[in-house]
Every structure is written in C-alpha cells, then in structure tokens.
C-alpha cells in the first residue's frame, strides 16, 4: 500500500506535469460531409454516418462504414471545430481500415472545395491503422489556419483492384499538431498561469510542436500592459522544440503580476497569446549559515566591547 502511494506521488510530481504539454488536438467526425458514395453503415444511418467512425476507441466490426461497389467510391465527413489559435505545424488523418478481399483505399482531405488524396494502400483483412499527413494546406499552399481546420472534411476513397468485394472503415480521427511556447517553470504547460519568475532574472522558455528549425518571434508583456521585451528570431531545434531557451529578455524593472507571452509566426505582423507566468519582486534572502558566519565577527565585537566596558567601569 505504501509503495503504491509512493508510486502515485512520483507519477503526480514527475511524470504528469511533463505529459500535460499537449500540443496536439484530436478532432473526430461530427457530421456527414458533402457526399456519401459508399454503400452504407452498420450501426448508423444516412445523415449520421459519422457516428459509425467517431468512437474514441476503435470498435472493430461493431460499427463501421462499408462499400461493396466497384470503381472509385468516396465519402466525406465533417470534423469537429476548434477554438485554438496557435500555429499549426501538421495535420494528420488516421483511419482504421480493412478489406474482405484484396482491395485498395486512399485517405483524403477536402479543403477549399477540393479533394486531396494521400497514398493508396493495399488493405488487409484485419483492421490496420493508416495515416496521412499534410504539414501545410495543399489548397492555399500556406500554413494551415484554424478556419481551414473548422471547414475541413475527411474521407476514404475505395478503389477496385479487380473483383470488388468489400472495404470497411471503423474509426477516423484527425490530429492537429500546434506549436507551444511557455515559461520554463510552467508547472502545467503549455499555457497555465503558473511558473514564478523574479524581476532580477532573465526569462527562459520551452516549447514543442514546431517545425524543424522553425524561426519565430516572441513578445512579453507585463501586467500593466507595458511590453518588457520582443525577441526576434528564436530558432526551434531540429525536432521542433525549445528546451529552457535563454531569451536574453531581462525582467528587471517590469511591473509585477501576471505577465503574458505572445508569439508571431509571420514576422511580427500578428501576435497570438501563448502563455502567462507570475512575475514577482525578488524574495528577501533567508537567514542562512553563510549569513550567520558573516555576522559572527560583528556579534563577537559587540560582546567583547560590552565586557570591556563592564570590567573597565569602577
């Protein structure tokens, strides 16, 4: 029992805070899309076909969409909206697919009223997880925006490879990877208001979910609205992370209270809220052994002086 309690405390202190840095958002189908060219669904009906594939844990052949038709057959599903605002570095679509014969299927996305096909896969007779990634919006050729994500639809193309039998999909979801940047002392990254810094320190930041060697700009505002510093040209690592990165931003003289970190990925044209931290005046140094030793000669001096006067007095 004791061991279990220690293990739980260990997990809470050391593992959970680091794992909370969720720079990935999972979005699931929440409505049928522009068309449905597959045969139907088991466990769902027309108008709500998305319900067959939006489960959080894939349920195999309990609920699924299927097609038995020859030729290229597509269906489209809308995915959930998000209120996120951070920089999107990647969009990945995941699907659990299988075939009853020897068929092909392709994951696709639908954005800007255009279909973009991924790799064509040869399916197997048991469910296998397939995925396809789009780091940028193939329609605009620019970085993804959250507006793009909110209007995004996904689907599967079933292709006849000769002797069509049946293709099935049981689960679909979309992972949107976005960048995070927060003060290095944030106890619950990516964007809690925690993390205490003092006005005699220089701010360090951490983050992840960025592209390899991506260059971003950062701005820190104090609680009174004054801008403490703007840092241009922070470069992420090859794996898209910032690890206790020394910004060179001195917090000296800034107003105490909740300070805010903003990030720009367009050269400073627009700034987006990313994190907050608690800025405080430096703590009064505690009485330490060192201080005690330093004060010792003074104490001895006064004691000696007192005793000298005592014995000198008549």
């Amino acid at each position: 029992m004791k061991k279990l309690a220690f293990a739980l405390v260990f997990i809470m202190i050391f593992i959970l805070p680091k794992g909370v840095g969720a720079e990935e958002l999972t979005l699931r189908p929440n409505a049928d899309g522009v068309s449905f060219g597959w045969s139907g669904g088991v466990g769902c009906t027309a108008g709500s076909y998305y319900e067959c594939v939006n489960e959080t844990v894939q349920d195999g052949d309990t609920t699924y969409l299927y097609t038995t038709s020859a030729g290229n057959r597509d269906y489209y599903l809308n995915i959930e909206d998000s209120t996120q605002t951070r920089f999107i570095s990647n969009v990945t679509v995941y699907q659990y697919l299988r075939t009853l014969g020897n068929e092909l299927a392709t994951i696709f996305i639908y954005t800007g009223a255009t279909q973009y096909l991924g790799t064509e896969y040869s399916l197997t007779t048991s469910y296998v997880l397939y995925s396809e990634s789009w780091p940028t919006n193939p329609n605009t050729l620019n970085n993804w925006t959250w507006s793009d994500i909110n209007s995004l639809q996904v689907g599967t193309r079933s292709s006849n490879s000769g002797g069509m039998t049946e293709n099935r999909v049981t689960q679909i979801w979309v992972n949107v990877t976005f960048g995070s940047l927060y003060d290095s002392r944030d106890p619950a990254p990516p964007n809690s208001t925690g993390g205490t810094w003092y006005t005699n320190e220089v701010l360090n930041v951490s983050g992840s979910g960025w592209r390899s060697n991506q260059v971003i700009d950062m701005k820190v505002n104090a609680s009174d609205g004054s801008t403490i510093c703007t840092q241009l040209g922070l470069t992420a690592s090859a794996t898209g992370t910032f690890s206790d990165y020394d910004t060179g931003c001195s917090l000296s003289g800034a107003a105490t209270g909740l300070a805010t970190i903003y990030v720009s990925t367009d050269g400073g044209a627009t700034w987006t809220f990313y994190d907050q931290f608690d800025l405080q005046a430096p703590p009064v140094p505690e009485f330490s052994l060192g201080m005690g030793l330093a004060l010792l000669p003074i104490v001895i001096y006064f004691l000696l002086r007192r005793s000298v006067f005592k014995y000198a007095s008549p």
Binding site: I228, Q231, G233
Partner: protein
C-alpha cells in the same frame, strides 16, 4: 511691518512652488532614451549575431512608442508598444548573416500617436568568410 514680512514670506513660498512645478514639468518631458548594441562587431557567415535595442521611458506618464527594425535597409518588423513610467523595453534579434560585407541593423523609434521621431540608430556588423 509685520504685514510686509508676511507678503515677503508668501512670495518666497509661491516662488519655490512655481520653481518646483517647472522642474517637475521639465523632468516629465525628458526625451526617451534609445540604445543599440550587438554581440559582435565582426562575424563569420552563418554565425549567430545577437543585437539588442532598449527604449526607456523616463517620464511620469505611460507612453506609446512605435519602432521599426531594418536589416540592410529592408524592414524586418514594425510594432507599437506601451511603456509605463520609468519602464524599459528590450528588442532582441538573432540573425545569421548569409553574405559577406556589412550587415546593418537600424532601429527607428517614434513616440506618441503623432509619431515624433525619437531615435534613428544603426549598428554595423562586418561579415567575413
């Protein structure tokens, strides 16, 4: 006689009050300070050069500033910021020059909504192979 003395003392008090007011007004209108520095004066191609500019608001009122940073004459960023009284703003930039010759960082700072020019300062880093 006593009345004259009172008038005299009153005049002195009023004089010092007015003098104090003038000094206060002048101190609150002290020009904002801008400094520009760089980690290198000479750098190699691809080497990271860290530049820094600071704007200080010495006045007794919150002020609006607009700054524009240029790299070799091309605008890198333009932004407006508020600075509280006696507050300091730091602009830090990290660049890796990719061409030989002079790499010039210029910061132009304006004050207020009417954009009164405060500073136009440059720093040149010589880039060598």
């Amino acid at each position: 006689m006593r009345r004259l003395r009172l008038i005299y003392l009153g005049s002195i008090v009023i004089f010092f009050l007015l003098a104090g007011l003038v000094v206060h007004q002048l101190s609150s209108q002290i020009t904002s300070e801008v400094t520009i520095t760089s980690s290198h004066s000479v750098a190699k191609i691809g080497e990271e050069v860290v530049g820094r500019a600071e704007i200080y608001n010495p006045s007794d009122s919150r002020k609006l500033y607009t700054y524009v940073l240029y790299f070799n004459g091309a605008k890198r960023v333009e932004d407006t910021i508020y600075l509280g009284t006696k507050k300091r703003f730091q602009l830090i930039w990290r660049v890796r020059p990719s061409a030989l010759g002079a790499f010039k960082s210029t910061i132009v700072v304006y004050e207020g909504a009417e954009k009164k020019l405060v500073e136009n300062a440059s720093y040149i880093v010589y880039v060598k192979p």
